[in-house]
């Protein structure tokens, strides 16, 4: 990996944080395609055959174009690391990702803002998944207490392509989170968008996931799981539009509430093609009573049982 000489300290600081948080440090290896951003600078960049990453430093952030050629299958994920190591400020990152035909790639995206006290992070991603390609995009976060996060992802999945997007913010908090994910699917394309968020204290969380099932036989799943504690406020909107012949979509939202948290979920299903089929399931409330009592009957206290159930829900 090419590391800019005057940025070695920041690079090493990020590595230390990976170590401390139990994240995979091997993602910084030479065989992994990667872009490492700190603040408004690119501090590391690595390309591997079939992957071309070009970065550009912009005002308050970085813009990156990631191009995957046709027929590429990578043994390692592509690493997108966005760090901000100061307490205050604003950062904007833009990723334009284009995956060619018949490729299979995975992205591991890490947002590392461990010292944030009053910090705004804005991430805009546009992802195109080529015909018959498969893309997995995992988004994980390490935050300090004072992060305001705005994340917008637009995905276009071409015919026969598959996109799996996972957003996880469970070990750390964003005081304010606005998460928007839209997937537009062509014929026989598939998308699965999953978000798992834990809101605590006075966090405010807004999640909007949109599934546009435009192609015939396209399929999509939206799944949101939110655990809301304390005085947090959560609003989840899941939208699915059945437009193509035999398109199938399912949206699922589960929210567990404790203490004085204020939670709402709005499922929106709209069909403009009588051959399309959309379904949804949603639940808001305390932890399922049957789950609790069945674990308690094996000797766990109510708190221990709740902790195990929540850990499972959040995939921790």
């Amino acid at each position: 990996m090419t590391i800019k000489v005057d940025r070695v300290k920041e690079y090493e600081a990020l590595l230390d944080i990976y170590e401390r948080e139990g994240l995979d440090k091997s993602l910084f290896g030479d065989r992994v395609a990667a872009i490492i951003i700190s603040g408004d600078r690119i501090i590391g960049l690595n390309n591997v055959p079939g992957v071309e990453i070009k970065g550009e430093e912009i005002e308050n952030g970085v813009r990156a174009d990631v191009r995957i050629a046709d027929g590429v299958e990578l043994p390692f994920p592509i690493h997108l690391c966005t760090g901000y190591l100061k307490g205050e400020g604003y950062q904007r990152v833009e990723f334009n990702i284009t995956v060619g035909r018949n490729s299979r790639v995975k992205f591991t995206s890490h947002c590392i803002f461990p010292y944030a006290e009053d910090f705004t992070h804005e991430a805009i991603s546009r992802i195109t998944v080529g015909e018959n390609s498969s893309v997995i995009y995992d988004d994980e976060h390490v935050h300090g207490e004072g992060v305001r996060m705005i994340s917008r992802t637009e995905v276009e999945v071409k015919a026969g392509g598959r996109y799996t997007g996972k957003f996880t913010l469970t070990r750390h908090r964003a005081r304010e989170l606005k998460l928007e994910m839209t997937a537009k699917l062509a014929e026989r394309a598939v998308a699965e968008l999953t978000s798992k968020v834990k809101a605590v204290k006075d966090d405010s969380v807004e999640i909007r996931e949109v599934l546009l099932l435009e192609g015939a036989h396209s399929r999509g799943d939206l799944k949101s799981t939110v655990i809301a504690f304390d005085n947090s406020k959560v609003n989840v909107v899941n939208e699915a539009y059945g437009l193509g012949d035999y398109a199938k979509g399912h949206i699922e939202c589960h929210e567990v509430v404790k203490e004085k948290a204020d939670v709402q979920t709005v499922p929106l299903l709209r069909v403009k093609n009588d051959k399309a089929e959309l379904t949804h399931e949603a639940s808001i409330g305390r932890i399922n009573e049957a789950q609790l009592v069945q674990l308690m009957a094996k000797g766990l206290t109510e708190e221990e049982a709740a902790e195990l159930i929540i850990k499972g829900l959040l995939g921790e």
């Binding site: 049957a290 069945q294 308690m296 009957a297 094996k298 000797g299 195990l308 850990k311 499972g312």
Partner: protein, 236 residues
């Protein structure tokens, strides 16, 4: 020894149980047999502390445990495998069986428990207890969890429901295993052939105890009456 003493239970003004007395001795196996709606599952829930009786009490080794909750009773050795085991998003079977690591169990013990209930360890230990599992598979996991837990009293609520035709053999195998471990089994069922596999049986109907004794005798009586309710609420 675990006892129900003159236990009554009223819900929404309706009497579900009418002064039921039952005794479960160490190391023996019992059935609570009766038709649907007889009050069998209510008895099970009172035994584990999920429901509190509106009259009477529950005694363990002579100590009144009526006021104890589910966790406390489980820690005294009274546990249950549910008729409809819950699903848990994101929890693997191994994690469920060991209660998230709270129950210390060797990997070999987990393997043995799973394989005894007919679930190959390699296929199941790492799987999630979510909606990808059938009701029968979850039932078998529930039974495996009690094998690992080794309680003093194992209540099996309708253990054969949702299982295939091998259910009878599985229950015989489980009864043998629990007996060898010194666990008292209390089996809730409306199938007389399943009830016939235990040492003793209680026949309950419309919330009343109709007959008790060796399971063969009770099952014969149950067959003769075709499991019909002999008591109708409001009858003399």
């Amino acid at each position: 020894m675990l006892c129900l003493r003159n236990v009554g239970y009223v819900k929404n003004g309706r009497k579900i149980l009418h002064g039921v007395n039952m005794t479960f001795r160490e190391g023996m196996s019992y059935s609570i047999l009766g038709p649907n709606g007889a009050g069998k599952s209510t008895i099970a829930k009172i035994l584990i502390g999920e429901l509190k009786p509106t009259s009477g009490g529950v005694l363990l080794d002579g100590r009144d445990i009526t006021g104890l909750g589910v966790t406390e009773r489980a820690r005294l050795g009274i546990s249950m495998a549910w008729q409809e085991p819950a699903r848990y998003e994101g929890i693997r079977i191994r994690e469920y069986l060991t209660l998230g690591g709270k129950l210390k169990a060797e990997e070999d013990e987990i393997r043995e428990a799973l394989e005894l209930v007919g679930l190959p360890y390699e296929l199941y230990a790492g799987r999630m207890i979510d909606k990808t599992l059938s009701g029968g598979e979850r039932k078998r996991i529930e039974l495996a969890s009690l094998l690992l837990l080794k309680p003093r009293y194992a209540i099996l609520d309708e253990p054969d429901s949702g299982l295939d035709i091998t259910a009878g053999e599985l229950i015989e195998e489980l009864l043998g295993r629990f007996r060898r471990a010194g666990t008292t089994v209390i089996l809730i069922t409306h199938h007389e052939e399943i009830a016939g596999k235990t040492d003793f049986a209680y026949f309950v109907c419309a919330g009343r105890l109709v007959k008790k004794g060796f399971s063969r005798e009770v099952v014969d009586y149950y067959r003769k009456t075709c499991g019909r309710c002999l008591f109708v609420e409001g009858s003399p």
